[in-house]
Symmetry: D2
Subunit: 294 residues, 4 copies
C-alpha cells in the first residue's frame, strides 16, 4: 500500500534541469498506483505533459504530497502557499546545495520509491506571520518561512525603530534594519548577518540587527511564542520596507507598527530516511575542512 | 502576613561593602516578623552578628528565602547549592552591575519591604548537568548555572573533539574549546565568545566554539531537552579541562566522553517587581548610546 | 601673529544649534585680526550675517582655514571639495559625538583662540578615488574620504563580482556588496560591518564584505598604494550602485569595471592640541565601561 | 650558473613523510652543483644520511638557502633563528595546507629545479620583538614571526592591563588577553580571534582582543613603526603569560611592562614563481564555495 494517493508536481520555471527532473518524475510516478497532477503554472513550461493540470490551490486540496523540483526558494514558496493544510512537501534539489530541497536529482526514482513505501522523515516547520498597522488599522499582512526583514529600502541609509517583545520595551535601534528569523531561516540570510544556527525543532525566533550603530547590539533569541513589535520612529525621513522571505510585502512609514509572531499554520516537510540536519550543515558550511592557519 | 517565614543571609567574603549591606539587612529584617539565619561561612567575617548561624545545607532546609549579597558569581554559587529545593534566591548587588543580583544596595530596605509583602517577580532557571565518562564509567559530575566549558587547560593549544547532539554526529572540531551555555549564561562568557543573547525563559542551550579552526563554525542553539556529548579525540596529546561556571570540575583524557544536559533541578530566582531582562541588557550592554561613527 | 589670515565659515543647513554656534564664531573672529568669509550656501540660512559671502570654490582659493560647524558628514563634504588645496579644515561638533568634528560648541572661543595662536594638531588624511569603466571608457568618477561602497541598490538581493588587487585575482564574491574604506572611514560604516579600526596615520585600505555568502570571507587590509578593481559579473540581473561617502555616485551594469585607489590629493584636518584618536575611540565606542556579564 | 651555492636542509622531526621528502631532496640536490648541508638536529632522525652535518647557527653562516620540510610551524622556527642573515628560506609543505610552506611534496624536483635556475618569488617578512620589563629592568626578550600573545596562563580567568601605542593611552582592558600579530600572523591565530586578513607586504600590526569584556572592543590596525606597550595592572591576582609564536616566553606579574615592536631583522622567504597570496587564501579559507543558505 502506498503512503500517498495523490501527488502534485511543482517546478521552478525556465530551468532545463528542472524540466529534465520533472520528466523523470512523471515517468516514474505514472507507473506507480498514484494519481499525479501537474501544477498549472509549471505546466506552461512543459507543453508535452499529458498529466491532469490543476491550480495551486487545487493541488493543496486534492494532493497528499507535493513534490517541488527546484531550490530552497521554490520550497519556501510552496510551503507558504500550502501551510495549514495536511499536504506534505518534498524537495528535489535543482538549486545550489539546499537546506530544504535535499533529494539529489540522480536519485529521484530510488528515493521516491522509498518515500512511497513510507520510508521518510517528517518534520513540521512553523512559519512567521507579519502584520503592518497604521493608525491602529491592519494595512498589510504576510507569511514567511525563513524570515521577515525590516530594511530602509534604499542602501546606505539608517532606520530608527523601537523594538518590543511581548509588549516589553527592548531597545531603540538605529541600524540598517532587522532580520526576524525562524529556525528554518537561521541558516539563510540571518547566518550571513551573524546570527546563530538554530536547530529546526527549536521553538524559537532570532532577531538579528543589520549593521547596528551600537556595537554591543547582538542577536537575541526569544521563545517562538513571543510577539515582536517594531514601532517605526517618527524621526525617519524614509519609508522602511518589510519583506517576507525576501519578497517585498509592505512599505511602512513613520508611526507604523509591525507585528511578527508565529503563524498558526505549520508546513509539513518530508526528507529521505537517514536525513540529518547537521549533515546538511557539514556539507553546506564546509565544516569538514580546517581553514584558519596553523 | 509575610510572604516568607525564614530568611537566610549569605554574603561574598572579604568585602567591606558586602558587610555594610549585610548589617543594613540584619537591622531591617530583625524588626520584621521573620526568622533570620546567617550562613556559617559568611558569619566568620561578621564577628558581632547575633543571628543564629547555620550551615549552607541547613539554610536550604529551613529557609524559604535566601538573600545573597555580592555579585553574579555569588548568586551562581548559591543557586548551584540550592537548586532542587523550593527556597527562593534574591540578590543584593555588590559586584559590577549584574544580570542576576539586581537590587541596588541603596534600596535594600525599600525593596525588601516590597518583597516581604509579596510584591516580587519569580522566575525558574534551569541548570546544566555535566558528566565525564572514562571507559564507560562515570568519573566526575558537576552542575552549572551559566555554562560548561571544555578547554585545553593550557593556552595557545588546540583540542580536537567530536560533537554529538542526541547521539547524532554534528562535527569534528579543532578549536580552543567549546562553551555550552544556558540562557542564564548567554549574557556571560558565551557573549564575549560571539554567542547570541537568549531570553531567560527560553528552553534552549547554545554551543559556542572557542576560536575554531574552521571559520564557518558558528554558535548553534538547540532545544533544552537535547543531550550533548563530546568525545575527546585520541589525537589529543593534552588533557582538556571541563569547567562548570568557571570552576574546574574535571581533567579529561583522550577517549573520554563528556555529556551535558539540562539538570532536573531548577533554581528559583526572585527579582523586584518591575524587573525587566531587557532593561538589564540596556544598562549592562550600553544599548542606549550610539557608538559606530556617523 | 596669527596662524591664519583668512577664515571661511561653513555650517550644516537647517539647524538652529549650528546657527547659534556660527553666530558665536562670527562674534569672536570679527574681533581678531583675521579676514572672515561666509560660505554662500550657509549664508542663505543666516539673513542677518554681515560677513562677505563667497562660493565654496572661492573659499578654497582665498582662505587658509575653513571652520565647519556640523557633524562628521559636514566635514566629509568640505574635505572632498577642498582636498588638494592647502586650506586647513577644523570642525565644531554639532552632530552626535564625532570622530572628525571634535571641538565642543561650548569651548568655541577658547579653542579658536588657541588655534589662532598656532596651538593645534595637524594631520593629513588621504581620500579614495573611484572610477567606473564601461567597455573601457571612463563613465563616472568620484572621491570619498570615508568609503566607497558597492551595493545592489535594492535590498535583499545579492550581487556577484570579481575582486582584484593590483591586477591579481582575489576572489569571486556573492554578497550584499563591499565596503572599501580608508582609515578615516574605518570607524564609520566599515566598523558596523565588522571591519577593524585603523589608525588615521596608517597607509592602508580595508575591504569589508557585506553579508557574504561564504562564511569564511573576512575583512582584508591592503596597502594604501594598491589599486582595487571590481568586475561586475555578467550573471547579475540588477544594477549595482556605487556610493562615495554614502552618496550615490554611479549605477553600474554587468561587465562594468570599478577601480578604487588612493587619490593624489590630501585633506588637511586640524584638531585642538592634546587631540587623541584613541581618546575619541574611548568616548565614542564606550571602551571605558565593562559590558559582558561577570 | 646556480642561484644558490650552499643549501641547508631542515626537517620536522618524527615524521615519516618529512623523511621521505628529505630523501628525495637529497637525491635531487646532490646531483646539482651545490653544496648541501644537513641540520644537526634533523640528522638525528636520518641515520643513513651521508651529508655533512652542521649546527643551526652554522647553517645560517654558511648557506644561502635553507629548505625547510614541514608545516608553517617549522618555517616560523627557522625564520626566527635565521632572521637578520641574508639566507633565504623555502618551505616544502608536510603539514596541513600552509600559508608559508607552499611547495607540494610531489613537485619537489621540478620546483627546486626552477628555484636553482633563479625562478622564484622573494619576499621579506618582518618579525616582532617582545621585551618584558620589571621595575624598569629588561627581564626577558623574544622574537615572533606570527604573533605575540598575552594571556592569563590559566583558562576562564580574565586579565586586566593598560594598552599604550607610541606612549599614548589606548584603553584599560579586561579580557582573556591580547593577540599582537604581524601580517604574517594575520592568517593564523589572529584570524580565529576575529582579526582582519592583512596582506604580507603591509607595514602594519593588528591588536586583537581575546574575548573582551567590553563588547565594543575591536581589532585595531596600527603602523608597523609603532611601539605597543602593555602595563599589567596591579589588580591582577594571577601571572599573565607572554608567548611568541605560541611558545611561552615569559610569565609576567602585576606591575610589569611588555613592549612589542617591529624587529630590526627581516626574514627572507622564497616562493615558487607564480606564487599568489590570495590564491593561498582561496584554497585555505574555502572562498571558492558558497556556504550560507540560498
Amino acid at each position: 500500500m502506498q503512503s500517498f494517493k495523490c501527488i502534485g508536481l511543482v517546478g521552478r520555471l525556465a530551468s532545463e534541469s528542472t524540466q529534465y527532473s520533472l520528466n523523470r518524475l512523471v515517468s516514474f510516478l505514472t507507473k506507480q498506483s498514484v494519481e499525479v497532477l501537474m501544477d498549472e503554472e509549471t505546466s506552461s513550461a512543459m507543453p508535452d505533459c499529458s498529466l491532469e493540470i490543476a491550480a495551486r490551490s487545487e493541488l493543496g486540496a486534492r494532493c497528499d504530497l507535493i513534490v517541488v523540483v527546484g531550490g530552497d526558494g521554490s520550497i519556501l514558496s510552496a510551503a507558504r502557499s500550502l501551510a495549514g493544510s495536511k499536504v506534505k512537501i518534498l524537495g528535489i534539489n535543482r538549486g545550489r546545495l539546499g537546506f530544504l530541497a535535499d533529494i539529489s536529482p540522480d536519485a529521484v526514482e530510488y528515493r521516491m520509491g522509498e518515500i512511497l513505501d513510507g520510508q521518510y522523515f517528517l518534520e513540521e516547520r512553523f512559519l512567521l506571520e507579519c502584520q503592518v498597522f497604521r493608525d491602529g488599522q491592519l494595512i498589510s499582512q504576510g507569511v514567511a518561512m525563513n524570515d521577515v526583514v525590516l530594511h530602509p529600502g534604499k542602501f546606505i541609509r539608517m532606520i530608527e525603530f523601537e523594538l518590543y517583545v511581548d509588549d516589553e520595551f527592548v531597545c531603540r535601534q538605529r541600524s540598517d534594519g532587522l532580520i526576524i528569523s525562524s529556525p528554518t531561516g537561521s541558516t539563510a540570510y540571518a547566518l550571513s548577518g551573524g546570527g546563530p544556527i538554530m536547530h529546526p525543532n527549536l521553538n524559537a525566533v532570532v532577531m538579528v540587527p543589520l549593521y547596528p550603530h551600537t556595537l554591543s547590539s547582538r542577536p537575541i533569541v526569544i521563545s517562538g511564542e513571543s510577539k515582536i513589535r517594531l514601532a517605526i520612529s517618527e524621526a525617519n525621513n524614509l519609508n522602511p520596507h518589510v519583506t517576507c522571505d525576501g519578497q517585498t510585502h509592505a512599505v511602512s512609514q513613520a508611526g507604523d507598527e509591525i507585528e511578527v509572531m508565529k503563524c498558526g499554520r505549520l508546513a509539513q516537510l518530508i526528507h529521505p530516511k537517514g536525513h540529518s540536519f547537521f549533515e546538511t550543515c557539514r556539507s553546506k558550511l564546509g565544516w569538514a575542512s580546517d581553514t584558519a592557519g596553523d
